[in-house]
C-alpha cells in the first residue's frame, strides 16, 4: 500500500493519523455511523432508535453512556438549566507529566468532549422545584476528580445550602484524578465537609450513580446521598474490578459490583431505568424537599 504513511514513510497531508487511544463510548458510537452493536445483547441496532430511547438499546434496554448536557436536560424542566462555575480551570499544581503532559491531556479532553471539565453544574428546576444540580462527564479524563471538579461539587452543595434547595449529583467517575495527586484526594474531604453543612438546611441530597462510579468519588459524596439511586447494571464500588482481581488473583463473580448487586447488599435505595429517572427524581424532591 503506497498510500499508507506507515509503509511509505511520508504522511500525505490529507490523511488523518489514526488515534491509538481506545475510542470513548461516545466517539465509538459516532464513528460507526448509523448502526451500533449493543454491549448488552450484542444485537446490531439502529443508532436513531437508540437515541430516541434516551441512549438505551431498543431491544434489551442496555443503558449506553449519555452526554452530560443531555442528562441534565433529561431530568430538568425544559430550559431551566443555568450553568455555573464554567470558568474554573486546573492549575496543574504538580506540573504532572507521564507519557503526555497533563495540561495537554486537559486540552485534548476538552476538545474531544466539548466540555471544559469532567463536571457540569448549575441550577434548574425539577417538577417546578428549584434544585442545585451537577453531573459528571465520564468522557472527560474518565470523569476523574481534581481540584476543579472537587470545587464544583463543593459549590453544588454550598449553593444548595444557601438557596435551601435539594441537591442532586449524577456520578460517573473512575475516582480521584491521579495527575493532581494529594489535591485530588483532599477534594473528597472538601466536598464531604460541604455536604455535612448542607444537612442543616434539611433538604434532600439525591445521589444518582451511573456507570461507572468508583474510587474516591464513590468513597465520598456519591455514597453520602440521603437517597442513592443507580442506573441499571452500572459498575459501582470502591476498588475497580481489575485491582481486586490482581490483589486476590481470582476471577470475580458475575454481576459483582453492578447496581443489582449493590441493591441486594443494601447499598443503594433503588435502581431506576433512565426513562423513569425524571419522574422518580421529581417524586423524591416532592416527598422530601
Amino acid at each position: 500500500m503506497t498510500g499508507d504513511p506507515k509503509t511509505s514513510g511520508v504522511a500525505a497531508w490529507y490523511q488523518k493519523v489514526p488515534s491509538r487511544k481506545l475510542p470513548t463510548p461516545d466517539k465509538r458510537a459516532r464513528m460507526e455511523g448509523l448502526w451500533i452493536k449493543c454491549d448488552g445483547c450484542e444485537e446490531i441496532v439502529f443508532k436513531g432508535d437508540v437515541e430516541k430511547a434516551l441512549s438505551c438499546c431498543p431491544k434489551c434496554d442496555h443503558h449506553f453512556p449519555m452526554g452530560v448536557r443531555q442528562r441534565l436536560s433529561l431530568v430538568l424542566d425544559e430550559g431551566t438549566f443555568v450553568e455555573m462555575d464554567r470558568g474554573l480551570e486546573s492549575t496543574d499544581p504538580l506540573n504532572f507529566t507521564d507519557s503526555k503532559k497533563y495540561k495537554d491531556r486537559l486540552k485534548a479532553s476538552a476538545r474531544t468532549s466539548g466540555e471544559h471539565e469532567a463536571f457540569l453544574s448549575g441550577t434548574g428546576k425539577i417538577g417546578g422545584r428549584d434544585v442545585s444540580i451537577g453531573a459528571f462527564h465520564f468522557g472527560f479524563l474518565g470523569g476523574s476528580m481534581g481540584a476543579v471538579v472537587g470545587e464544583k461539587v463543593t459549590r453544588v452543595f454550598e449553593r444548595a445550602t444557601e438557596l435551601r434547595v435539594p441537591a442532586i449529583v449524577f456520578s460517573a467517575s473512575g475516582g480521584a484524578r491521579m495527575q493532581e495527586a494529594i489535591f485530588s484526594l483532599m477534594q473528597m474531604a472538601k466536598s464531604s465537609a460541604a455536604l455535612a453543612r448542607f444537612r442543616a438546611v434539611k433538604q434532600p441530597y439525591i445521589s444518582v450513580l451511573l456507570d461507572p462510579t468508583t474510587g474516591g468519588v464513590a468513597a465520598s459524596f456519591s455514597f453520602l446521598g440521603d437517597v442513592i439511586l443507580a442506573e441499571p447494571k452500572a459498575l459501582i464500588g470502591f476498588a475497580g474490578p481489575r485491582v481486586i482481581e490482581q490483589t486476590l488473583r481470582q476471577k470475580l463473580p458475575e454481576g459483582f459490583q453492578r447496581s443489582e448487586f449493590l441493591l441486594e447488599h443494601g447499598m443503594v435505595d433503588a435502581i431506576v431505568p433512565r426513562k423513569e429517572l425524571r419522574a422518580k427524581l421529581a417524586q423524591l424532591v416532592e416527598l422530601l424537599g
Binding site: V82, E83, M84, D85, R86, G87, L88, E89, S90, T91, P93, L94, F96, T97, S99, G122, A147, E151, A176, R177, M178, E180, A181, I182, F183, S184, L185, M186, Q187, M188, A189, K190, S192, A193, A194, L195, A196, R197, G215, G216, A218, A219, S220, F221, F223, L224, I236, G237, F238, A239, V243, I244, Q246, T247, L248, P253, F256, Q257, H265, M267
Partner: protein, 334 residues
C-alpha cells in the same frame, strides 16, 4: 538485632558494624599501654565521625522513592508502638456493633498528658504471621474498621474528648467482602462525620498515607506528617500500573506524584513536619515518639482555645481552600 536493611542503608550499617567491632576491641584493650589505647580511641572517634557523616550524606538527599521505602521499613514503629510510648491508661475498644472487629484499624480511649483522648489508627502486622493470624491485614481496613472508627469518633464527640489519629495504610482493603459490605460508603461516612466533629482532631501520618483509606481518619484540624512518610491519592505502584502499565515503575510514579511529607507540606496540605530520629524512625523509635509527643502537645494546646463551633469552622476552612484553581470569572448562564 536488625534483620532487614534497605539498600541505601547498607553502607551505613556496615560501617556501624565495624565501629561496634572497634568498640569491643577498645574495651578489650582498655588496660593495655597508654599509647596503644589512645590510638584506638582516636580511631574510634574517627569512625564515629565517619558514621555520622555518612548518615548525613545518605539522608540529606533521599529520593522520593527512598522515602516511600523508609515509610514501609519493617522495623518502623506502628500505631500501637506510639500508643505504648505516648499514652497512659490505654483501653482498646473493639467492633463496629454490626458485623465484626477489624484488627487493621485500632481504637481506644487513653490519656495524653493526663487528659483523656480518643486514639485511632491503622495497625500493620509486624510479620506475615501477625498480618494473617492476628488479622492486621497489612494495615488495610475493611468497612467494619471504618465503622468502628466512626462509632468511636461519635463517642469522643459526646464525651468531649480530643481525637488523635495515626495514619499508616497502603489503602483500604480491595476485596470482595469489603465491596459487599460497602467499603466506599464506610469511608465516605467517616469523611463527613469527621468534618463535623465538635472536638479537636489531630491526625499524624506515621508511615503510609494511602488514598481514601488514609483520609477516612484524616479530616482533622491539623495534619502532621513524620519526615519519612508519604501521603497521596494512590500508591506509587498502583499509579505506575495505570499510567505506565508497569507496577515496578513505582519509583517514577513517586516522583511524578510528589508523594513525600516534604511535598505535602510545601503544597500546604500538611501543617507540620515531625522530625524522625537520624536515619529514620526505626533507628530510634523512642526519640521519634518524643518528637511526635511535642508536636501533638503544641497542636492540641493551640486547638484547646477554640469552641466546638470554631473547631468545626476551622476544619471546614482548612479543607475548603485545598485545591488550587483558576477562577476565570462570574457564573455564566447558557
Amino acid at each position: 538485632m536488625r534483620t532487614f536493611a534497605l539498600d541505601f542503608e547498607k553502607p551505613l550499617l556496615e560501617l556501624e558494624e565495624k565501629l561496634a567491632q572497634l568498640r569491643r576491641s577498645a574495651a578489650h584493650h582498655a588496660h593495655d599501654g597508654d599509647g596503644e589505647h589512645a590510638a584506638l580511641e582516636t580511631e574510634l572517634h574517627r569512625f564515629e565521625r565517619r558514621c555520622s557523616k555518612l548518615q548525613q550524606e545518605i539522608f540529606a538527599n533521599l529520593s522520593r522513592w527512598q522515602v516511600v521505602q523508609l515509610s514501609r521499613h519493617p522495623s518502623r514503629p506502628y500505631t500501637l508502638d506510639y500508643v505504648d510510648r505516648l499514652f497512659t491508661d490505654w483501653f482498646e475498644l473493639h467492633g463496629d456493633r454490626s458485623f465484626a472487629d477489624d484488627h487493621a484499624l485500632v481504637g481506644g480511649f487513653c490519656r495524653f498528658d493526663g487528659q483523656p483522648v480518643l486514639v485511632l489508627g491503622q495497625q500493620k502486622g509486624r510479620s506475615a504471621k501477625e498480618n494473617h493470624t492476628k488479622r492486621r491485614n497489612f494495615g488495610m481496613p475493611r468497612p467494619e474498621g471504618y465503622r468502628k472508627a466512626l462509632r468511636l469518633m461519635k463517642l469522643a464527640e459526646r464525651f468531649n474528648r480530643p481525637v488523635i489519629c495515626f495514619i499508616d495504610t497502603p489503602g483500604a482493603y480491595p476485596g470482595i467482602d469489603a465491596e459487599e459490605r460497602g467499603q466506599a460508603e464506610a469511608i465516605a461516612v467517616c469523611l463527613e462525620t469527621m468534618a463535623g466533629l465538635r472536638v479537636p482532631c489531630v491526625s499524624v501520618v506515621i508511615g503510609e498515607g494511602g488514598s481514601g483509606g488514609a483520609l477516612a481518619i484524616g479530616v482533622a484540624n491539623r495534619i502532621l506528617m513524620l519526615q519519612y512518610s508519604w501521603y497521596s491519592v494512590i500508591s506509587p505502584e498502583a499509579c505506575a500500573a495505570i499510567l505506565y502499565r508497569d507496577a515496578s515503575k513505582g519509583q517514577k510514579a513517586a516522583e511524578a506524584l510528589k508523594v513525600t511529607a516534604r511535598d505535602a507540606f510545601e503544597f500546604g496540605v500538611v501543617d507540620e513536619l515531625v522530625d524522625e530520629a537520624p536515619g529514620g524512625a526505626h533507628r530510634d523509635p523512642a526519640l521519634t515518639a518524643e518528637n511526635v509527643r511535642a508536636a501533638l502537645r503544641r497542636q492540641l494546646a493551640a486547638l484547646s482555645h477554640l469552641t466546638p463551633e470554631q473547631l468545626v469552622e476551622d476544619r471546614y476552612q482548612k479543607f475548603r481552600k485545598l485545591g488550587p484553581i483558576i477562577d476565570a470569572g462570574a457564573p455564566l448562564a447558557t
